[in-house]
Every structure is written in structure tokens, then in C-alpha cells.
Symmetry: C2
Subunit: 215 residues, 2 copies
DNA sequence: ACTCTCACGCAACTGTCTTCGCGTTAGACT
DNA sequence: AGTCTAACGCGAAGACAGTTGCGTGAGAGT
């Protein structure tokens, strides 16, 4: 009847040995991983369909075939669901290049970021993020694990590009933050390339300014 | 807010009203104004007490003494309540100076902004903002009326300070956005003055960069 | 002062979210 | 292969947000 039950009984449909996170859990194995994938897939679908709302847990339960009680036990809130999806997707969705050409790397990343934020899930993610930030038990654990890997990637890009003054934090302040707020307010220009070029110019400006004025 | 009040009235007689004082409504008088003040005061208190959550309407009803049905009829959602409080408070809470000294004005504003965002209500406001952005019927009306007056103030500050290249939008990208996201992620330095100086330097850097490279 | 009617209080109602106890299943481990 | 137990399914109970119809009181207009 449900996707999960079918997956459980059909040996051919068993997962192709891709160990999902669930680090530190006592039982990371097959069924738990399958339910997790089914739930996260349902969250993605619902976000894509319903526009930008954070999906309700009963809706995710029906869509995924996983019982609502199970979802409540594992995730507790809808926001945690969205955060979990984001954690699983961010790295492949907005890769951070490091070719050595700073402006090109920044432009490529920013353009993709703008496009990503404009997607239906973009606002849902921001919503979930603010909600998670308000509830320490969710945010305190999730936020660092979301941010830290990105910071390392940024550092590689900056090193490769010869940026001596900029820090990964500056990427947060000068790129991610304006794109996030701009998406919320709908104040981003329609032309994503122009918007990206604008933001990248700001980054370059800061790098040059600090070089001239010392750190 | 205006949409809700319009729904209560004759649809044809609707003229646009200032979201703060509700002037122009058919009955702006004593009782309506009192209930509104009582409700907004309760929202402020609840936000200050409960940390950073968006208060539930039943809670606001009990605290304010205004019946829940009334609040539902006028505001519709808790997010609209928080937005309304923000609309009423922002101008006095984070004034935008225009003394002619650009760096001093920027620093004063940014410092106050950081302090304001760190307050309990700061996160609640961001939460409400993202939620409002996701529901067009609330956000489409409220967001412009929140942003536009600020943009004008910024323009005055920039003019007075002799900034020829910067736009009010840049203040959004370079100051408000980083402070917002930084507050969410808890990534702002503990030293608010240092953080403000950092962000202000970025603004100055962009102004100088554009002067040298043409717009 | 009188009338009109908008906004509010009231209470019952509906639908949905959320939790809980218990039995069952399926990985993990020996 | 056998045992153990964490994780899941299930249904019911509870709590809560949100809605609606109706009567009343308080501004607004004359």
C-alpha cells in the first residue's frame, strides 16, 4: 500500500548502499534510513507543490507513507524537517567553485545562489531557519553543521583566488545575507546576472579597500 | 491590517489607510484605537517574556483582555500582529540620523540596529517577516509600507553625507541583511561596536570602489 | 439628542495538530 | 540461527487553533 511497505518487502527495491547520515544513532540501518529518505522526499515534493509554505507533519505523513507519530518522534517540528532537507541538499545545490579566478568563482556561486533562493523551497528554508534559530534545541545543533562546511569551502575559494583580506564570514555578510533578505522582501532585481554582478562587485570592493587601508 | 479592516467594511468604500494609526477607516475612534493599543502592548510583552517566539493569538487575547475573535477578525494571523508592532515601532527604535558625517551616521545606525536585533523581539520580527513574505495577502501589503519610509530616510542620510554612489538598497544589502542573518545564526561578534565598524567599512569600501570604477 | 452601524464580546462548534500506550517488525549482535 | 531491542505502525484520546452567528455597546453623523 504505502511506498515504505513496498520497499520493505521488495528485495529489489532495497537501497543501493548509500549510507544516510543519522550519525551517532544506535540503529542507522536499512529501515530507518528508508523512512528517512521517504520523509525527506515527501517534504521536497510538498514544498515544490504548495509554493513556499512549510508543510504540515500530517501532510508529510500521508505523502510519504510514514506514520505521523513516527515523524513526530524523530523530527518533532516541521521546521526541523525542512532544515534536515536543507542539510542534505545544500552542498549539491549551491556548490562553491575554486578555480583560482576569484571574480568568476564568486559570480558563478552567487548566480546559482540567487536562482536557488528564488525556487519555491527557498522561502520555506528561510522560514525554517528563523524558526530553528528561535528554538535552541533545534537550531543549536543544526545551524553549525549547516554553516561550517560552507565556511571551509569558501576559504578554499578565497585562497585559490588570492584574496588575502576576505574571510568566509564576509561571504555570509556580502552574498548570502543580501540574497536571503532580498528574496524575502522581493527586492531583488529580475535580472539575476546583474544582481549577482552587483554583489560580487561589493566583495571585490571590500577586498581592495582593506588592502589599501590595512586590516 | 488594512486588508482585514477592508473586509469588515463595505468593500467599495475602502481607501488606503496608514497601517499604524488606521486613519481613514470608517471608525478610527476611541474603542477601536484602545483595543488596538491593548493588543499591540500585549504582543510586545509576550515577545519580551517568552523569548523569541511569535505569540499565539489566544495568548494575546488573554493577556490583552481583547476577545480572540476580535483579534482574528482584525489581524488574521499572529505574524500580522508582529508585523504591525514592527511597523509601529521601527521608526522610533532605529532612527536613521543624517548629520552630514556619513561614517558617523552609518555607525550610529548600525550599532543601534545590532542592539535592536539582539533584543528578544528581534528574532520574532524576522520570523514574522519570513512568514509574511510567504503569504502574499499579508506580506504584499505590509512589506512595502515597512520598507519604503526607511528607504527615504536612508536617501536623506546618503545625500547629507555626500555619498554619490550608494543607494538605499545598498544599506539593505550591506547593513540590514548581514545584521539579520548574523543574528539568526548567532554569528555576530560579541562586540557590537566592532561588528558595526566592520559593516560600515564595507559600505565605505563600496562607495569608494564605485567612484573609482564608475558606476 | 437621536439614529445608525461598525466593532466587539460571547459561546458553541469544527477541524487539525500532537501525544500516548501498546503491539509488531526488522536491524544489530553474538 | 537465535536473541535483543530500537524503531515503526496503529488507533484513540486530548489539546488547541481558528471560525461562525448572534446580540450588545460605543463612536460617528445629523
Amino acid at each position: 500500500m504505502t511506498d515504505v511497505e513496498r520497499a520493505d518487502r521488495d528485495p529489489a527495491a532495497s537501497t543501493d548502499a548509500s549510507p544516510v547520515q543519522a550519525v551517532g544513532t544506535t540503529r542507522p540501518g536499512g529501515r530507518t534510513a528508508r523512512t528517512r529518505l521517504a520523509v525527506l522526499a515527501a517534504v521536497r515534493e510538498l514544498i515544490a507543490e504548495t509554493g513556499e509554505a512549510v508543510p504540515s507533519i500530517p501532510a508529510v505523513a500521508e505523502r510519504s507513507g510514514v506514520h505521523a507519530a513516527t515523524i513526530y518522534r524523530r523530527w518533532r517540528t516541521p521546521e526541523a524537517l525542512v532544515i534536515d532537507v536543507a542539510l542534505a541538499d545544500v552542498n549539491e545545490r549551491s556548490p562553491i567553485p575554486a578555480t583560482g579566478d576569484l571574480r568568476a568563482d564568486l559570480t558563478a556561486y552567487t548566480t546559482q545562489l540567487i536562482g536557488d533562493a528564488a525556487r519555491p523551497g527557498g522561502l520555506a528554508f528561510l522560514h525554517a531557519l528563523t524558526a530553528a534559530a528561535g528554538t535552541p534545541e533545534v537550531g543549536a545543533a543544526a545551524l553549525p553543521s549547516l554553516v561550517e562546511p560552507r565556511m571551509e569551502h569558501f576559504q578554499r575559494m578565497l585562497d585559490a583566488g588570492g584574496a588575502t583580506e576576505l574571510t568566509p564570514m564576509d561571504m555570509l555578510s556580502l552574498l548570502i545575507a543580501p540574497v536571503s533578505l532580498g528574496t524575502m522582501l522581493g527586492s531583488l532585481p529580475d535580472d539575476a546576472d546583474a544582481a549577482a554582478a552587483h554583489l560580487v562587485d561589493n566583495v571585490i570592493a571590500v577586498e581592495e579597500y582593506r588592502r589599501r587601508h590595512g586590516n
